[in-house]
């Protein structure tokens, strides 16, 4: 199968959906012809679809989301880009109180088919305001679906599903994944929400990981296999809906679970997954649940500091070994 980057996979999904459905359009800061997206995901789209459908906005995150919401409830399918996930804080009211709640508040009279794309993640030394992973905030908001692909294949398939979904979808990317290459079929496909992907099968311990951490988990699994520890790596791919069953089933088999996410540990995504396992498969656990996540600090700038806080193969291996004895 042909290999393309995560960035190109996302662009293909956008392009194909814009061709398929003329109500789909893109808006965000510098997504248009002059800059083509901070991470070049929208490259070429303004040229192909025009400035009306690939729309540069002022630096107004709150209005970007609000405008998308207003367009969505009147017949359009906007895809809003927030340049860095950290800046979603500026649009939090529009996301959590408007986009997520309009359908419910209005008793089902409307739905809000918006996709809100944003990159998360540290690792490129751009410090506290451009490096966070804030999935947990949105996971706590009923009314939002959440997709977070870790591969080019998942990126394309999930983004197409997101755009076709009638409800709001938060679509989280990772800065370090954009250049990653992987197989993506030429033919049309979509990936259903709520179906985890077992990125590696294993018998000894379940590792649940998301976004860039999937790759760290796979690398750790490879190293651990040399020591005879057989790791299963599960990528939920969507956090809402979350494929609890796949996680619980795997734990029933392995009896052990390590959850690896790049967000700050306290009240993060890994807490929810840990809680589900503790509620639903406690009897099958042979060891304490382990969470590998960032410590509770902002992301520091200097490379040695930043590398210290980001979970990596070593911290994953350490956590696995603490419970596989």
């Amino acid at each position: 199968m042909r290999q393309i980057t995560y960035r190109d996979a996302l662009r293909e999904a956008l392009r194909e959906e814009m061709l398929r459905d003329k109500t789909v359009f893109v808006l965000g800061e510098d997504v248009g012809r002059y800059w083509q997206g901070a991470f070049k995901v929208t490259k070429g789209l303004a040229e192909e679809f025009g400035d009306e459908r690939v729309r540069d906005t002022p630096i107004s995150e709150s209005a970007i989301v609000g405008v998308a919401a207003g367009a969505a409830i009147t017949g359009m399918k906007p895809i809003a880009e927030i340049m860095f996930g950290d800046l979603s804080a500026l649009a939090m009211d529009q996301i959590a109180n408007q986009v997520a709640k309009l359908r419910y508040m209005f008793g089902g009279q409307t739905r809000v088919p918006v996709v809100i794309r944003m990159p998360f993640g540290a690792g490129v030394n751009i410090a506290a305001h451009h490096s966070q992973s804030l999935e947990a905030w949105f996971m706590h908001v009923p009314g939002l679906k959440i997709a977070l692909p870790s591969t080019p294949y998942d990126a394309k398939g999930l983004l197409k599903t997101a755009i076709r979904d009638g409800d709001p979808v938060m679509f989280f990317e990772h800065k370090l994944l954009y250049p990653l290459e992987g197989p993506v079929p030429e033919e049309e496909y979509t990936i259903p929400f709520g179906v985890a992907d077992v990125k590696r099968e294993g018998e000894d311990v379940t590792v649940v990981a998301t976004l860039y951490m999937v790759h760290k988990a796979l690398a750790a699994a490879k190293m651990l296999s040399k020591e005879g520890i057989d790791v299963e790596v599960i990528d939920p791919r969507t956090l809402a809906p979350l494929d609890k069953q796949s996680i619980v089933n795997s734990v029933k088999n392995t009896g052990r679970i390590v959850i690896v996410t790049e967000d700050c540990k306290t009240a993060g995504v890994s807490a929810e997954i840990a809680a589900i396992v503790a509620e639903e498969s406690l009897d099958y656990l042979d060891a304490p649940i382990k969470r590998v996540a960032e410590p509770d600090t902002p992301i520091p700038f200097s490379p040695p500091l930043e590398q210290f806080v980001i979970p990596n193969e070593k911290s994953i291996i350490k956590a696995v070994k603490e419970i596989v004895y």
Binding site: F25, P58, G66, G70, I73, T74, Q98, G143, L144
Partner: protein
């Protein structure tokens, strides 16, 4: 403005409907039939009616915590509004929204948000949708003078301006945001002056004169419909009651209240219609009786309607 008699009567009737509806809501509230809180529109009728009289059914509006008047003016049914206020299953939002979140998408009423100012970018988004779909609809966006200090006001109107969107921003300046006087939170006299910041027209009108509002909105709606972009209209008005159910509004000087009550829009419009000989005293009574009956009927519908079943709380949400 040369309006047909029929149009004038329709506007008068709508204003009366709002007035009586709000009085009824207040009354039901006193009888403990209204859960939660209530922000009454009484006093501001000329704004909603003056603006919406320029709109087609397929045009849109967005609304606020003080939204009953907007709903009625845009053509939503009294009974289903009242049912929503009472938390009934027959309400527009099946009881999920209540007074602060009424919506009727079937008449282009895109809903009330209770986060002050949050509806402004949403209105711009509806405008963008119109532009992209290539129709000649327009959007009217209602909000208070208090909301004009929110960041969303700035961001939302600027976006409508730069993209020449068909939106009419209607600021209902009733001088107060809860207990906070306008003069305490902005140095300028007229919110409409803020239009300068976006390079769009800004006009201030007597918000208790329905014809003045109609005229300003007429111009703005025309502009919007012809794809010439948004307008900011400020309507100076006054709420008759306190901010919400428990508010005695003691922060308002008595003389100020009295002065504004004298400027009541419903009375003024009635006097004008009588003077123009469009209405006779008998007709006035007739309309009033009709409206009262309609409101009573709506109240009865609402009171008699069942509450939603508890488990319905789990419906209408994804994921």
């Amino acid at each position: 403005m040369n309006l047909e008699k029929e149009k004038l009567l329709e506007m008068y009737r709508k204003m009366l409907e709002i007035r009586h509806f709000e009085e009824k809501a207040f009354e039901l509230y006193g009888q403990n039939l209204v859960p939660g809180t209530l922000h009454l529109y009484a006093g501001q009728e000329a704004v909603a009616v003056g603006v919406c009289a320029n709109l087609r059914k397929d045009d849109y509006i967005t609304s606020t915590h003080r939204g009953h008047g907007h709903c009625i003016a845009k053509g939503a049914q009294l009974d289903r509004i009242m049912a929503e206020i009472l938390g009934k299953k027959t309400g527009y939002c099946k009881g999920k929204g209540g007074s602060m979140h009424i919506a009727d998408f079937s008449v282009g009423m895109l809903g009330a948000t209770a986060v002050v100012g949050a509806g402004i970018p949403i209105a711009s988004g509806a405008g963008l949708s119109i532009k992209l779909r290539g129709t000649d609809q327009v959007v009217a966006c209602f909000f208070g003078e208090g909301a004009s200090n929110q960041g969303t006001f700035h961001e939302g109107i600027n976006m409508a301006a730069i993209w020449t969107l068909p939106v009419v921003f209607v600021c209902e300046n009733n001088l107060y945001a809860m207990g906070t006087r306008q003069t305490n939170v902005m140095l300028i006299e007229n919110v409409a002056e803020r239009a300068v910041a976006y390079g769009i027209p800004g006009v201030t009108v007597d918000g208790n004169d329905v014809l003045a509002v109609y005229e300003a909105a007429h111009e703005a709606v025309k502009r919007a419909r012809e794809s010439r972009g948004p307008t900011l209209i400020e309507c100076k008005t006054y709420r008759h009651k306190g901010h919400s159910r428990f508010d005695p509004a003691t922060y308002r000087p008595k003389e100020e209240v009295e002065e504004w009550l004298k400027k009541d829009s419903v009375q003024r419009f009635k006097a004008k219609l009588l003077e123009m000989k469009i209405l006779t005293e008998t007709e006035v009574d007739k309309i009033e009786q009709d409206v009262i009956a309609a409101v009573e009927k709506a109240a009865k519908f609402a009171i008699d309607s069942p509450c939603p079943a508890p488990e319905e709380a789990l419906e209408d949400v994804c994921a």
